[in-house]
Symmetry: C2
Subunit: 390 residues, 2 copies
């Protein structure tokens, strides 16, 4: 757990991208596919380094078992794609969306397939694009699946992204005091993280950069996916729940803590302890071979046995990588084993209306014999009870 | 063109949302659909006022010809949805993504349909969700279609959003000078627009707020969809192209200008004039009844006749509303007539590698007998040649 991994801030090498493509093609052979078509901008970014601002004009990547992948792009974006995409790609541009008859995206797109082939498509592919795809279609998330195991390069990128959120979270805790407005905190910490991203990666692609820094005060913290009102104020006591996350030039991680201002109200000590030990239980199970469903099941059982089962509203964790939320999932029903070089969040939570939310989240790398926690912030209740006397 | 429309900053009334739903249902009857299913977060927001941060857990809205619409939501988001959604909705929550057998989103989802019915789905619906949808599926974009004609309420919201970008653009032009960094400008102007949004709408939903302020300096301006590098600097001369856009608590508009610092280089005068007159031509055609394809065709022909046809890379305009890019499209191939209460951009462009880009864009309302330009900024080359001697 104490090994240091060096952060990486450079773009992927051509070899890195070729390896990713090769892994996709190996899956295509396994699944007997002649073509695989990717529309999901995340998957296209993974394979080409090109990130698009999604709008109504489609970008579509067509992969055959051999040869240069083909990319259907709007004429408008041709030079943008060429300036950011890495690796060999054959571009096929279309007139506009919509376009005169015979020059629409689907006219170009359909002409790139041979007849009567087996074509893999993503579950995320819009029905309107699937409808225009020729051949026998099979829904299969090959790219999402290969993204589950990170290369050493991807791990390095995420290690660097963790440095950004670690710094952001440290600054966030320093700002917290009763009466602090959500908006002031958001502006200050996201600005600081963005500045660090730019200093570390001057050529960062801002389409795939995002920073979030927020605190759910006690009156909101039982509802983890609501957005706190802009003038919501922090209060003495707690539980407050922080979220600091960043997508740093394409690589996303998170760091979250339950904390208190000045003192810990008596009634929240027990749910905090239950969350704290549920989390310990999860960490003790983190090693290659453990089923992810089993971890979630045991965590839920532990919390339920302590009397808080009605207050569980989400799984124990999720994958991280080029998004901040992706497979694998530490969830009942996801019966796959942990493997080295998976990158996941660990974040069992308890949410009690009228009292508040209890959740720590870290970004964690699975190693050959256990795990390394890549994010860093105080964890126990004493260190998370902030002094407000100054 | 000089009528003043009052901006609106309040949430939609229940009547407004009921009217939208009724229009969807009228289309369902016309198209002989028993159900219509919406997955597109934009369409769900349009009908329910609930905006979701898209992630792997699906939110799905099921509309029948009568009765209360049903919404499938993750348990995690139940209280979030309930706090933001307006109008009558019946919520059906699922355990988690993924979930133990029998408790997945699709188990809940499929149980809400009667057998052997005709089900309309959006072109944007992911194939993985379409696959789990029972009945006879028909791809039809009913909600996107009814969104094309704005209610007076929507127009009022967009009028307010235009005030935000008008102010932002005015401040942007004041900051521009040779050597100004992209990043400094972005930070200042988006901060200023965000502050105004918060002052005007303290309860704004930040999931549907976004502000953009950027200038494409001459070395980038030929490529309208590239993101300028963060340390890109403005230069004496031009053409620079500004983009100021905002989604203001759910309503999106844009304002863009081609401008010069200090002087206008000789070689750019002609393409500027051609763009300027192409734009005039487009405005002269703006009234109910004109085919949108015809406008684009005439604009392209005008530019081509002037010798710049090779430098057209996009259509003349697109719709605006709860997104900044939506139907209708002023594009060859889109053979529908303009109608009152359409809200569109007018932005013919010319993009010459090595010289730069030429484009003004405004957000424009079609009225009973013509149009009203809702955005406001200098338009002619004299007013857009900024003094840099101070």
């Amino acid at each position: 757990m104490s090994i240091k991994i060096k952060g990486i801030t450079t773009p992927p090498s051509i070899d890195e991208l070729s390896d990713r493509l090769e892994r996709v093609r190996n899956k295509m052979v396994e699944e007997n596919l002649d073509y695989y078509v990717s529309f999901d901008p995340v998957n296209i970014y993974y394979l080409t380094n090109f990130a698009n601002n999604v709008h109504e004009r489609p970008f579509i990547l067509i992969i055959e078992r051999e040869g240069i992948p083909k990319m259907v792009v709007p004429l408008l974006e041709k030079s943008h794609v060429e300036s950011r995409a890495l690796g060999e790609l054959e571009f096929h541009s279309y007139y506009e969306f919509p376009a005169p008859q015979g020059q629409n995206w689907y006219d170009i797109y359909r002409s790139l397939f041979e007849k009567d082939k087996i074509v893999g498509i993503e579950a995320a592919m819009p029905s309107g694009i699937a409808e225009k795809t020729p051949g026998t279609k099979v829904i299969t998330d090959i790219i999402e699946e290969i993204r589950i195991i990170k290369s050493d390069y991807e791990v390095g990128r995420c290690v660097h992204a963790c440095k950004i959120v670690n710094k952001g979270h440290k600054e966030l805790l320093k700002m917290c005091k009763p009466g602090m407005h959500e908006f002031a905190l958001y502006q200050k910490i996201t600005g600081s993280m963005t500045s660090k991203i730019i200093m570390d990666i001057p050529d960062a692609n801002f389409i795939v950069c995002k920073t979030v820094a927020a605190v759910w005060p006690p009156s909101f913290s039982h509802d983890p996916h609501i957005i706190p009102k802009i003038f919501a104020e922090m209060e003495e006591g707690g539980p407050h729940v922080s979220i600091v996350s960043a997508q740093v030039d394409g690589y996303g991680v998170e760091l979250e803590r339950t904390f208190f201002l000045g003192h810990v109200p008596e009634k929240v000590k027990e749910p905090f302890e239950v969350m704290f030990h549920a989390r310990e239980l999860a960490y003790n199970l983190l090693k290659p071979g453990t089923l992810m469903s089993e971890i979630d099941h045991k965590v839920r059982k532990f919390i339920t046995d302590k009397g808080y089962g009605d207050y569980i509203i989400h799984r124990t964790g999720h994958g991280l990588g080029i998004t901040g939320h992706e497979a694998p999932y530490l969830a009942e029903g996801y019966d796959k084993p942990l493997e080295p070089n998976m990158l996941i969040s660990i974040e069992p939570g308890i949410y009690i209306p009228g009292i508040g939310g209890f959740r720590h989240s870290d970004s964690v790398l699975i190693t050959n014999d256990g795990y390394i926690k890549l994010t860093k912030a105080p964890e126990n209740i004493e260190d998370l009870t902030l002094n407000i006397s100054n």
